[in-house]
């Protein structure tokens, strides 16, 4: 019998059975959805953002980008916060907490002014939420007093965080917008306002595609469209970067982070943990595949911990941070020459094309035998390895030191 690892982790002083949470979005819109998710194994939910404001949604409101035949590289949505009455949402939250006392309920709120933020903070505290998330970051609100317009303004972030904190004893988490250069600035503002935690990222303002019949963005809403939030696998690298930068910032040390953006399997999850996230939130992959994806996240992460010898998620959190260093500190003394396994090679010549057209013309092509060979002009950029369609065909080979550099031990990836 396989023994699974304990994936529990403490977040903002709250013990979570696992770090996998729904993020505040359509996937956690009502009691039934959240209940099904929790039954499937999610550790907790961030209930879809509630507010006093009730949005008027458009149709259609989603689009996705593809590469070749792969759908959902990225996903665009135009939905705003919950369109249900506040009382109804509070009722459902209360029932969730009552029916699932061991699962974690995070209430996501969004106000238009200090009074609303305070009111919402008080209400969700009363229904039994474990944590409050301030949504400072939805990029498609139809009012500029809400959403990412607020998140881009550190003073407002601080002020509203203070309002929320003043009306609750619960830990408060501020959700950041990526539509900004330095996320550390509003994050620090939120912490100064009393936030115990930062979550990131909300969606990225985007245009996915242009519709060639109506000459507007997608989705087409009666001939028009708007810039709105982009999420999913495509945004993961951007999110990882924001999380890492916040985790590395001295003013945010010891501030627990919740990572959001393109998580769909245990590998994505492990990556977020390694750059410093203690909690993980998912929407897009659930919208595409359903709540069941958490099963393989739990199982896969557990197997990974066994394989790597991690006994708890705590041991993984932030483990990569010390190795992500400024560009000027990178060891530039050597080049690693790739080696090509001629037996595995099928002779497609993609490495040859890319090396010529995109790198350093350091691969020669044997027309007769249809095989590439690497020349002395190779700079060790490894573009060939990136484009080769064959697993294990091109691998890192000899380490060559640049002239005048002292040879030393080199870790080869």
């Amino acid at each position: 019998m396989v023994k699974h690892k304990d994936l529990s982790i403490e977040f903002c002083g709250v013990k979570c059975e696992n770090p996998f949470f729904l993020s505040s979005s359509p996937v956690g819109s009502n009691y039934d959805m959240c209940s099904k998710a929790l039954e499937t194994g999610w550790g907790g939910i961030v209930y879809k953002t509630i507010g006093v404001y009730i949005p008027d949604e458009c149709s259609p409101r989603f689009d996705n980008t593809r590469k070749e035949a792969t759908p959902f590289l990225g996903f665009k949505n135009m939905e705003q916060i919950s369109d249900k009455p506040l009382e109804k949402n509070l009722e459902m939250m209360a029932k969730l907490k009552k029916d699932y006392p061991d699962k974690i309920l995070i209430a996501s709120i969004m106000g238009e002014n200090e009074e609303e933020w305070k009111k919402l903070s008080k209400l969700v505290t009363e229904v039994g939420a474990d944590i409050i998330e301030c949504n400072f970051s939805c990029p498609q609100m139809t009012s500029s007093t809400m959403g990412s317009d607020v998140g881009q303004n550190p003073e407002l972030v601080k002020k509203y965080t203070q309002s929320v904190c003043s009306a609750t004893h619960l830990p408060v988490m501020a959700k950041m917008t990526p539509n900004i250069g330095n996320m550390e600035i509003p994050a620090i503002a939120a912490v100064k306002g009393g936030a115990a935690s930062i979550s990131a990222i909300n969606t990225i303002k985007a245009i996915t595609r242009i519709d060639f019949n109506h000459y507007t963005a997608m989705p087409v809403v009666n001939g028009k469209s708007s810039i709105s939030g982009y999420s999913g696998k495509a945004v993961k690298p951007i999110s990882l970067r924001f999380i890492a930068q916040m985790a590395q910032h001295p003013d945010l040390a010891n501030i627990p982070l919740s990572g959001i953006g393109g998580i769909e399997n245990w590998e994505d999850a492990a990556e977020f943990l390694m750059v410093g996230a203690r909690n993980l939130q998912v929407t897009t992959a659930i919208m595409q595949y359903g709540y069941r994806i958490v099963e393989d996240m739990i199982s896969g992460l557990s197997y990974f911990m066994q394989a790597k010898g991690f006994n708890s998620l705590d041991e993984m959190v932030g483990i990569a941070l010390d190795n992500i260093i400024p560009a000027e500190e990178i060891d530039r003394d050597f080049k690693i020459i790739p080696k090509i396994d001629e037996d595995v090679c099928v002779g497609c010549g993609r490495c040859y094309i890319s090396c010529y057209d995109g790198a350093h013309q350091a691969i020669e092509w044997d027309e007769d035998n249809r095989r590439p060979s690497i020349t002395d002009d190779c700079v060790g950029c490894h573009l060939c390895m990136n484009v080769c369609p064959i697993e294990g065909c091109i691998t890192p080979g000899e380490v060559k030191f640049k002239e005048g550099r002292d040879p030393h031990e080199v870790i080869v990836g």
């Binding site: 070749e68 035949a69 099928v346 993609r350 064959i390």
Partner: protein
């Protein structure tokens, strides 16, 4: 789907745009794509698959159509596994790209949107005649029209297309695809004279007197091959040519018998078995003298007929056909390599063991060189015969290879004919200059 509908409907489903993209994404996009060296007709799969991958389906259709006037036909019936797909680098990983289906996707798209890719210049060059409207003739005619010749195809049957129209089963090659591609040929200005057998309804000399100065002989193989065994003349014994030529133009509305035996092991035999089975035969057997490995039919077709419930018997050759009241009742066959005996009940026996050519001396020119099998002796690369203004292409030269090879030969014949007439024109203009000089005009 009922069997009649199955007979008339293409067995292999078309790709949707997404499936085509998925398949095109499997392509390694090779630097020196071996698939593109594998096509006799010179189609460039590497280029058209890349076009599909980069969302330029019109560009893909253009690449195909420019190389092959019968691109949609070949997409369906080419032995890809022995040509471009055999060379595919992806085979080194798992399985080759389905080049044929991608070609079909692009040519279907072309047809669906009514794309017009080829445009012939004004026909200012000489009148030329193409004899026979099968794949070689169609390809020759189209390419000649594209070079500016006034081209007429002479066809003895009432519908053009040759083996495409009268042979290949619709579940592999629906007639609307054949008709569409013949329309492309017509759109280039090629004229079709149907129900007109050269050598009988009109002679080559008469054509010459009408102003035709060069000819492409692409008459295919019209006569069925039979073997001389007892009972061969019984009612119920027929040939693949006659059987298929009755079925397809009638949309399958023919009477097939209950117990059908097909003799042979090529694609034509498979087509006969498919036709018989789908058009109502109770039991269909194929009797082939050699082994599964040696059987020339496309293995996908062998699988297809097997799935239809056709029984394939290997290693037997017909010995005698037993009749009753002049009608077939039984086939007796004997082991090809031993003396095993086989008796099968039959009320129809279809011989699909190949075809032979008609005598080209009677059709084209008394002096044309032919061999003992009536095959025209022509240079397979240039299609030149011993008569300078007659070029021969396709099955009548190569004794029946693939449609794509017939297309390649038709293209080659067009090139050679053009070269021939071009050089004649140059000689004539030189002569005119000489005459002019003599007259002191210059």
């Amino acid at each position: 789907m009922n069997d009649k509908k199955k007979y008339l409907t293409e067995a292999i489903k078309p790709y949707t745009p997404l499936l085509a993209m998925e398949e095109a994404s499997r392509c390694l996009l090779c630097h020196d794509a071996p698939c593109s060296k594998g096509c006799p007709a010179g189609t460039n799969p590497a280029k058209f698959i890349r076009s599909i991958r980069f969302k330029n389906i019109k560009g893909a259709a253009e690449t195909i159509r420019k190389a092959n006037i019968l691109g949609g036909v070949c997409a369906r019936i080419c032995p890809y596994d022995k040509l471009c797909e055999e060379a595919c680098s992806r085979t080194g990983i798992d399985k080759p790209i389905e080049i044929g289906r991608l070609q079909r996707f692009a040519t279907d798209f072309e047809q669906a949107i009514g794309m017009k890719i080829l445009e012939a210049p004004e026909a200012t060059k000489e009148k030329v005649a193409v004899i026979g409207s099968g794949p070689a003739g169609l390809a020759a005619a189209a390419n000649l029209a594209l070079m500016g010749y006034k081209v007429t195809i002479f066809e003895e049957k009432s519908t053009p297309g040759g083996v495409l129209t009268y042979g290949i089963v619709p579940s592999r090659l629906p007639q609307n695809i054949v008709d569409q591609e013949i329309r492309y040929v017509k759109d280039l200005g090629v004229e079709f004279k149907l129900d007109c057998k050269v050598g009988k309804d009109i002679t080559l000399d008469e054509l010459k007197s009408e102003g035709y100065v060069a000819f492409v002989l692409s008459i295919g193989l019209q006569q069925p091959k039979l073997i001389n065994i007892p009972g061969i003349n019984l009612e119920g014994v027929t040939t693949a040519i006659d059987f298929l030529a009755a079925a397809k133009p009638n949309n399958g509305n023919i009477d097939v018998s209950q117990n059908v035996i097909v003799i042979g092991g090529g694609d034509v035999a498979m087509d006969c078995a498919t036709t018989a089975k789908l058009l109502g035969a109770n039991k269909v057997s194929i009797v082939y003298r050699r082994t599964y490995e040696e059987m020339p039919a496309n293995k996908d077709e062998v699988r297809y007929v097997s799935e239809l419930g056709v029984n394939i018997i290997y290693g037997f050759t017909p010995k005698e056909i037993i009749g009753d009241n002049g009608k077939v009742v039984k086939l007796k066959a004997v082991g090809f390599k031993d003396d095993s005996l086989l008796e099968l009940k039959a009320d129809k026996i279809i011989f699909a063991i190949g075809q032979i050519a008609e005598n080209s001396k009677e059709i084209a020119d008394l002096n044309i060189s032919i061999d003992g099998k009536n095959l025209v002796l022509a240079n397979e690369e240039t299609c030149e015969t011993n008569i300078e203004n007659i070029f021969a292409a396709g099955d009548v030269v190569n004794e029946g290879k693939t449609v794509v090879e017939a297309v390649a030969a038709g293209k080659a014949a067009a090139d050679s004919l053009n070269k021939y007439l071009t050089s004649l024109r140059e000689v004539q203009s030189d002569d005119t200059e000489v005459v002019a000089e003599k007259k002191g005009v210059k």
